[in-house]
Amino acid sequence: MSTYQEFIQQNEDRDGVRFSWNLWPSSRLEATRLVVPVSCLFTPLKERPNLPPVQYEPVLCSRATCKAVLNPLCQVDFRAKIWACNFCFQRNPFPPSYAGISEVNQPAELMPQFSTIEYIVQRGPPTPLIFMYVVDTCLEEEDLQALKESLQMSLSLLPPNALVGLITFGRMVQLHELSSEGIAKSYVFRGNKDLSSKHVQELLGLTKPAAAAQQGRPAAPQEAAAFCKFLQPVHRVDMNLTDLLGELQRDPWPVPQGKRPLRSTGVALSVAVSLLEGTFPNTGARLMLFVGGPPTHGPGMVVGDELKTPIRSWHDIQKDNARHLKKATKFYEGLANRSAGNGHCIDIYACALDQTGLLEMKCLSNLTGGHIVMGDSFNTSLFKQTFQRVFSKDYNNDFRMAFGGVLEVKVQEPLSPWIRPGKPKCNPRSVHSPQCVLCWQEMGVGGTNQWKLCGLGPSTTLGMYFEVVNQHNAPVPQGGRGAIQFVTQYQHSNTHRRIRVTTIARNWADANSQIQHIESSFDQEAAAVLMARLGVFRAESEEGPDVLRWLDRQLIRLFMFHLRRSPFLQVFNNSPDESSYYRHHFVRQDLTQSLIMIQPILYSYSFHGPPEPVLLDSSSILPDRILLMDTFFQLVIFHGETIAQWRKAGYQEMAEYENFKQLLQAPLDDAQEILQTRFPMPRYVDTEHGGSQARFLLSKVNPSQTHNNLYAWGQESGAPILTDDVSLQVFMDHLKKLAVSSST
């Protein structure tokens, strides 16, 4: 059914939605039998150049528990000027402004091609964007200098009316007052004392002229800005701030031999969160944390300041030897929840050779929709360009970022089969979940139909898992269509609030009679990614080996070889921070990127023809090839043994070997292309056969040739991988055996 392929593609392009099943089984039992749950990947803010927002507000269903938005699937009685909600069947009159409505004069939201439509909410004054820099000063001089430059550069990228704030921290936490003339003022907090939000606000003298600020969102942000000396419009404090950043010193407290610098990341974040909480609740704000090492001081510390005690490893964690882990995680979760509650998102830019405590801090970004960027140093292009890319703009010259989003999912009322977003395997709770839940996560945070996405971008993709709740004996009538509506309210980077509504519908199918249809409606890629996400979620929340076992049981019939070896599930060879980092990105990228992450792409360049994708297998590693591997996080260019020798000999410099030069250039060009668009920027590795960096490649390929079977299996081709991991061949053999045995 090529139509399904097209249908899927079309849906993705239009609505940013991909379902694992494009026909839905009509009862819970059937759904369970399908193993892969009815689920979807949804990209709320998918870039739609051809979707101009409409300048009015959506029409809502008048039933208080429904509030669905008028959509093309609704029944409309043009004469009576009444429409029926397709979720609750409530009949609603059109508002007066729709008086001129008729069959030929339909509003956009009724047109089928506008199954996704974006409204601009005009209510209230625009609220400025807020950017809060939280900068670690316990860095090497070189790093700090690079960071300072990046920060200064970023000022020029901010919209002029955006508010900026600056916190620096080391042993102490300094909140800089930006409006001061002459002497540079800053408020200082000690790094080892946690302060309640209220206390912080008292200490800062932010006795809110609060009547205004209290009402959900500041009625007059301008005034708010005026009274908060810590957050000032960029255009006003540009010079000040640039100077200030320029004068930033390394943390002046001496670091004794054998100690780590004291880094009060926890308190710095706490202060930042409290400040924003006190001044601009429910306003889009981005809190950017730059750290060059693990928190070592005060609440949220991840490791002590003694160098002789190394930072926790997976091994420690499994042995329950990570002293600070639980406490720190709890602390950061608390912060994340507060921050999410206020609609502020937190980015983490961690650049250090050692771990920086991302494992504990990941929730900050995960729960608030912030970025995590991990690098070796602030003085690398990886960081510099990635950071720059945070402020990239779209075709409308708007930032590719949105704030304070709230995603609501509406499904049809109980009479029709009931689908509810939820945590798989989690019993549905009350039908109408609480109005609002604080946080979101693609998976795993369920029991509600509303999530908060404090920061989101065009590629932010959520995984939604639905459950068919009607019983087997009361199936959905044949031919019925199920509908789901995604309502995303958010603050656009141009400070206006917008609402994007996506309404989709799928047919119900009886698993007994229409099994082929259902099979054909299966979206393999989406399902793979969705299941992978589930696995990652479980991996994060449960013990490692159990997850693998669960995955094996659950996905035995799926092609999950690479996933199983990926850093998303395997922690071997990865530090806790790296695992966190990888998982963070895995659960928020769109389908294509997710697939790359699961199964890295390997291109082969040779004189024999144009570049071709090759198997991710050790057999692809040949002496006369150049390989380009994209794992999403790394971009590896691998020169085969012969090529490397040629290159070393300098043939590419010789006119007669122009073609060789071109061959060398080709992967570079392709890599550049990828580098241009990817966020975060991948680690770029240019290596050759036998190079130490070749490990990036060798660890990914299928070890079809190892020291065990080098001569048994192989002929001439490929490079042996020295590993005990099973190869795909073994895996497949095992799978087959299992499949057979299970069927008997």
Binding site: M172, I183, K185
Partner: protein, 1241 residues
């Protein structure tokens, strides 16, 4: 007065006695001489001159009633003024004669004693006070005739009542002393009767009657003497006597004469004298009168208050007065006769003296005369031509001449003789001046009238009121006289090599030569001759203490302590007690070992320190090594003496400036900031050539703290706000404490901006605890010691540790709960102080309060860390700026050490048990001072824990380990050796009243923390009374109980003690705030002797006529010394007043203020206008020199007579009754006398 006097007294008297013929005395004398013998030797010369006189007079009056007494009195006065000892020495002039006499005196000694008894007569005068009979005395003074009666009354009253009424009186009011004379007269008069019954004599009553009689005083009059009307005469004489006793110079003079009259009466007393003597005899078999008289206070008094001051000295004599009662009685009857009889000759002398008192002295020939003269001096004031006649009577005291010797003895110690002599003359003049004006007019009017009448009637009445007036203020010991005498006798450098030698007074400028003991600028002791046993010490009640000012600034012509470096091993110390190498160590075994003279432990001499001994057992390099030849020197400390065994970092200064609304508005902030810019160039340094290594840091604060990063590399300072004051910390390290020169630009920029930044502040709340914590944390972080300069305005009520409440509650004052007001409100600051001390963080607090700020609590940290508190109430930039800035400059620049530990080691037998000052102690021996500057003194009290030996004396070694302002660790050592005595007399002869007062004040001011102020005052009075009573009982020659006898060295004790009792801390006036009291309390706690002296007894200079090169002679702090046509400059160490009389000559005003009219003087001026005339220049010079002397800048307040500010000024006229109920000097002396009598009976 003290022992010395006695001894001398004894001897002189002894002789006289012979003269008198009363054998009785002789024995007595004999006794005395023996004990005093040593002194006699040295003192004898002096003694002859002065001491005897004073005392003798007193005694005489009683005994000799006749002229002799008077003369005695006069003489005694003179002597007294001279401070017996000195005068005696100097006495050159009259000396010869006197000496002769004195020489006789030794023999006379006994006679002396009698005089003492006579002295009692004076006491009698004093008695009057007690009795109220005193009143009469006053009148008497003024109006001799009436006085007679009155006097008698007083006399009677004093002696009789308390002892007799009079005695009491005398005792109480120094003024009485003037009366005392009267009493003496009484005595004389009564004496007869009394004499007859010596015991009776002692029993005031008997005498009283006589006195009464003489005094015409009601009671007494009736009875006995009245008829004798000689009373008048007698009265007069008595007065003189009293005066002598009391030492009231001026009146005395008058009185003295009267005394003489009285003496005339006394003569009878003379007759009675014998009786008296009997009475006295009890004391000393010899003639009580004589003996008593001489020995009595008179001697002490004289010595102490040598000649002119003699009066002063007399006061002590007043004590004798106590004796007077006894003696008096006897005198009473005999007086006249006696005078005639016994004293006749003396009388003549006296008479002579009276007339030309001076001459007498000169002529001095008759020793008595000398004495007389003194008395005469008194007399002069007395004017009392009437006295004149009496004078003769008093002269009878001449027998006292014998006494004089004693006094001389006393003087001997001092230079009294010389001084005395000269003194007398000068005195006379003085008297003349005062006497004429005050005595005649004022006294007569005021005192006489009221007192006289009432007192008699109501003997029971508080002696004070009645007595005051009665006693002639000039007859009581005069501080001025004592001071002047000491100055006069100090004309060569003070050499510290002699053990147990008392240094000149703090008011005297002298050169010190260090020859093995610490200079008195470093260490002053209350007693330079300590009792050998605890029993003695307890009996005498004389506090054994030393006031140590370890880093005292020396005058430019004296070398600062040498630095000694013993190399890597560190200073050489005794193995057991760890005393440092000092001149007292005995090298033995050819120099291979040394024996510690503190603990007697023998220690090996390290090879590198070995040196051979010469034939005397001294090391041959003895004079090459400061630690073997000097009393003060420094060791370079090794790393072992450093905290954490790390050489210290250079210290840091942190400025913490309140920038709340009040601070900004008052202009404080901008003044401080502006001043700091230039001040930072003057941070303390040891070598003026080198830049100071002291680093600086800046903090401003209101409710939150602002730290400043002033790192040299910054273009602009950075402000770091710490608003979390609940748990203070330092936000930055690098850049907070900086070198001034490196960061100069940034610092200046900061100081320029601070006032601007906070110009519009509306924050009124402040914190305080966190401010100090901040500084402390900064020093901790920098790992150095240092000093915080906190500029603070208001009660810290903002929410923070150390938050305070306003607890000022006037209702509590005077109740048992009053003490709580002096205690810190919260314990927080005590703990904080402890931490500060541990870090070597000294805190100086500058307060600018507009209302209550609870100095008692805020001051805890400064006081415990060796810092200072400065307070500028209602600070206004315009008027207070200069004072504040000068204080700040001085405070910042002064020589200071950090992180100091002081330990006082003593020879076995005594132990340092108690310490007073600004410091912290975590154990019982180590005084820890976070900061120690050159103005801080520590008073150390010693107690016996074993016996001391006379041969070895008592040694003490004060070692202060500190970090210099250049960051060098050093040990400063001060050694002090004093004598030990087994005779109480020796103790009393070598005391330092100023130092004792320093101790008492600190002791009392600390006492208010735990006791009601009333109890504290009572304790003080008690102890003082015990001291004097002990003296009287054990050292003074027997004399009538009515006679007040004061040891020469302590004759000013009552007047000074009264000042302490009247201080705002112990007896607050209604307008004195709690803060002021707490402020003064802590201020005194670290004062040295010179500071306490001028604080309690302000210097009051008449500045109508100024000469370049010398200061005018001060006048006593009493309103009656002020002349309407005069201008006076008063200095208290904290304040400077220029009092302008209402009828000052225009010319003077023009010279001074540039305005011819009194009404046009701007009393708000804070500096004298700069006028180009010698007078103005000189006065401003004087003012500047005064300011330069004190550690705190004194703001000049121009006080116009009758102006409102005069109230404040009057507060410092400490000899007058204070508005808050403090007794006048005279009253207090009477009271003291009464106390003593009670103790004796």
């Amino acid at each position: 007065m003290n022992v010395n006097q006695h001894t001398p007294m004894a001897s002189p008297y002894g002789q006289p006695q012979p003269g008198y013929g009363q054998p009785n005395y002789a024995p007595l004398d004999g006794g005395y001489p023996a004990s005093y013998a040593p002194y006699n030797g040295p003192a004898s010369a002096y003694q002859p001159g002065v001491p005897p006189q004073g005392y003798s007079f007193t005694s005489f009056p009683s005994k000799a009633v006749a002229a002799n007494p008077a003369s005695d009195l006069s003489s005694s006065l003179d002597l007294g003024s001279a401070r017996g000892p000195p005068t005696s020495a100097p006495p050159p002039v009259s000396a010869p004669q006197q000496y002769n006499q004195y020489s006789h005196s030794p023999a006379d000694m006994q006679n002396g004693p009698p005089p003492m008894t006579q002295a009692p007569p004076r006491p009698a005068g004093s008695q009057p006070y007690g009795l109220g009979g005193g009143q009469p005395s006053y009148p008497q003074h003024y109006a001799p005739p009436p006085t007679m009666q009155q006097v008698t009354n007083q006399m009677g009253g004093m002696q009789l009542t308390s002892g007799p009424p009079t005695p009491a009186g005398l005792g109480y009011a120094p003024p009485h002393s003037s009366q005392p004379p009267i009493s003496t007269s009484y005595q004389s008069a009564p004496q007869p009767s009394f004499t007859q019954a010596p015991p009776p004599a002692s029993s005031a009553p008997t005498q009283p009657p006589p006195p009464n009689a003489p005094a015409a005083s009601q009671q007494y009059y009736r009875g006995p003497p009245p008829p004798p009307q000689p009373p008048f005469n007698s009265a007069l004489p008595p007065t003189s006597q009293q005066q002598f006793l009391s030492s009231a110079p001026p009146p005395p003079s008058q009185q003295t004469f009267p005394p003489s009259f009285s003496s005339s009466i006394p003569p009878p007393s003379c007759a009675p004298a014998p009786p008296v003597s009997q009475s006295q005899q009890p004391f000393s078999t010899p003639q009580p009168h004589f003996s008593s008289a001489p020995p009595p206070v008179s001697q002490p008094g004289f010595p102490s208050g040598p000649p002119p001051p003699a009066q002063g000295s007399f006061p002590p004599q007043p004590t004798p007065s106590s004796s007077q009662p006894g003696s008096v009685p006897p005198p009473g009857p005999p007086p006249t006769s006696v005078t005639s009889g016994q004293y006749p000759t003396p009388i003549q002398h006296q008479q002579q003296p009276p007339d030309s008192q001076p001459s007498p002295y000169h002529s001095g020939p008759p020793p008595p005369r000398f004495q007389m003269p003194p008395t005469v001096n008194h007399l002069p004031p007395g004017p009392q031509s009437p006295p004149g006649p009496q004078g003769p009577l008093q002269q009878p005291p001449s027998p006292q001449t014998g006494y004089p010797p004693q006094q001389n003895g006393a003087f001997g110690q001092t230079r009294s003789p010389q001084a005395g002599y000269p003194g007398p003359y000068p005195v006379q003049p003085n008297y003349g001046a005062p006497a004429p004006a005050p005595a005649p007019a004022a006294p007569a009017q005021k005192r006489l009238d009221p007192d006289a009448i009432p007192s008699p009637q109501a003997p029971d009445m508080p002696a004070v009121q009645k007595s005051r007036h009665r006693i002639d203020p000039d007859a009581i010991p005069s501080p001025i006289q004592v001071i002047e005498d000491d100055k006069a006798k100090t004309n060569e450098p003070f050499v510290t090599g002699v053990r147990g030698q008392a240094p000149p007074l703090v008011t005297t400028s002298f050169h010190v030569r260090d020859q093995g003991n610490a200079s008195p600028r470093f260490v002053r002791c209350t007693a330079y001759n300590m009792p050998c046993t605890a029993d003695m010490a307890k009996q005498s009640q004389v506090p054994l203490a030393a006031v140590i000012k370890p880093l005292a600034t020396l005058p430019p012509d004296e070398n600062p302590p040498y630095m000694v470096d013993h190399g890597e091993g560190g200073p050489i110390r005794c193995n057991r007690c760890k005393a440092y190498m000092c001149p007292y160590m005995q090298f033995i075994e050819g120099g291979r070992r040394f024996q510690c003279s503190f603990c007697n432990c023998v220690t090996d001499v390290p090879p590198h320190y070995f040196q051979h001994l010469d034939h005397t057992g001294k090391r041959v390099d003895c004079y090459d090594r400061p630690e073997l030849s000097l009393g003060s020197y420094e060791f370079l400390a090794t790393v072992d003496y450093c905290k954490n065994n790390k050489l210290p970092q250079p210290p840091a200064f942190i400025f913490l400036i309140d920038v709340s609304y009040n601070a900004v508005k008052s202009g404080m902030v901008s003044i401080v900031c502006h001043e700091l810019k230039s001040l930072l160039d003057h941070l303390p340094r040891e070598n003026p050539e080198v830049d100071s290594v002291v680093r600086v840091g800046f903090v401003t604060y209101n409710k939150v703290l602002h730290f400043y990063n002033v790192k040299a590399s910054l273009a602009q300072p950075q402000m770091l706000v710490v608003s979390d004051v609940s748990d203070m910390f330092v936000p930055l390290l690098d850049g907070f404490l900086v070198n001034v020169n490196e960061s100069r630009q940034v610092i200046e920029s900061l100081l320029d901006q601070i006032p601007e930044m906070f110009a519009d502040t509306r924050e009124t709340e402040t914190v305080f605890g966190p401010v100090i914590q901040a500084g402390l944390e900064a020093l901790k972080a920098a790992d150095c010691a240092g000093k915080l300069f906190v500029f603070h305005t208001s009660l810290p009520i903002a929410e923070a540790p150390g938050k305070l409440k306003n607890r000022e509650d006037k209702k509590l004052i005077g109740t048992d709960k009053e003490k709580s007001l002096f205690q810190p409100q919260v314990g927080f600051y005590n703990n904080l102080a402890k931490e500060c001390v541990a870090q070597g963080c000294c805190v100086d607090l500058f307060l600018f309060p507009n209302q209550y700020v609870d100095v008692a609590t805020l001051g805890v940290v400064p006081v415990s860390t060796g810092g200072s508190v400065y307070k500028y109430t209602y600070f206004q930039a315009q008027t207070d700026q200069e004072r504040f800035l000068n204080d700040l400059r001085r405070d910042l620049q002064k020589h200071v050490g950090f992180d100091a530990v002081m330990r006082v080691r003593t020879s076995t037998g005594i132990r340092a048990t108690d310490f007073f000052g600004s410091f912290y102690m975590s154990n019982t021996t180590d005084v820890e001072l976070a900061g120690l500057d050159c103005d801080k003194a520590i008073t150390v009290e010693f107690k016996h824990d074993d016996k001391l030996s006379e041969e070895t004396g008592a040694l003490m070694q004060c070692a202060v380990l500190y970090t210099s302002c250049s960051g060098q660790r050093r040990l400063r050592i001060h050694n002090m050796a004093v004598n030990c005595c087994s005779q109480l007399a020796d103790l009393y002869r070598n005391c330092e009243t100023d130092t004792i007062i320093n101790y008492f004040s600190k002791y009392a001011f600390r006492g208010v923390l735990s006791n009601p102020t009333k109890a504290v005052r009572d304790t003080l009075v008690n102890q003082c009374a015990q001291i004097l009573a002990c003296y009287r009982k054990n050292c003074a020659s027997p004399s009538s109980a009515g006679q007040l006898i004061l040891p020469e060295c302590m004759k000013l004790l009552p007047v000074y003690l009264n000042c302490v009792l009247k201080s705002d801390v112990l007896l607050p006036g209604a307008d004195v705030s709690l803060d002021d009291r707490a402020y003064l309390k802590q201020l005194i706690s670290c004062m040295d002797v010179a500071d306490t002296h001028v604080f309690f007894y302000p210097r009051l200079l008449p500045v109508m006529k100024l000469e370049s090169g010398s200061l005018p002679v001060a006048v006593r702090n009493s309103e009656e010394r002020l002349s309407k046509g005069g201008v006076y400059l008063m200095e208290t160490g904290l304040h400077l007043f220029l009092w302008v009389g209402a009828s000052v000559q225009q010319e003077l005003l023009l010279n001074l203020f540039g305005t011819p009219s009194f009404s046009q003087i701007d009393s708000s001026m804070i500096n004298l206008p700069v006028l180009d005339n010698p007078f103005s220049q000189r006065l401003r010079e004087i003012i500047d020199s005064f300011r330069a002397q004190r550690s705190r800048y004194m703001k000049l307040v121009v006080v116009k007579q009758e102006d409102r500010t005069e109230l404040i000024f009057r507060h410092f006229l400490v000899e007058d009754k204070s508005a808050s109920g403090g007794a006048s000097y005279v009253d207090f002396l009477c009271h003291m006398h009464k106390e003593i009598r009670q103790l004796l009976s």
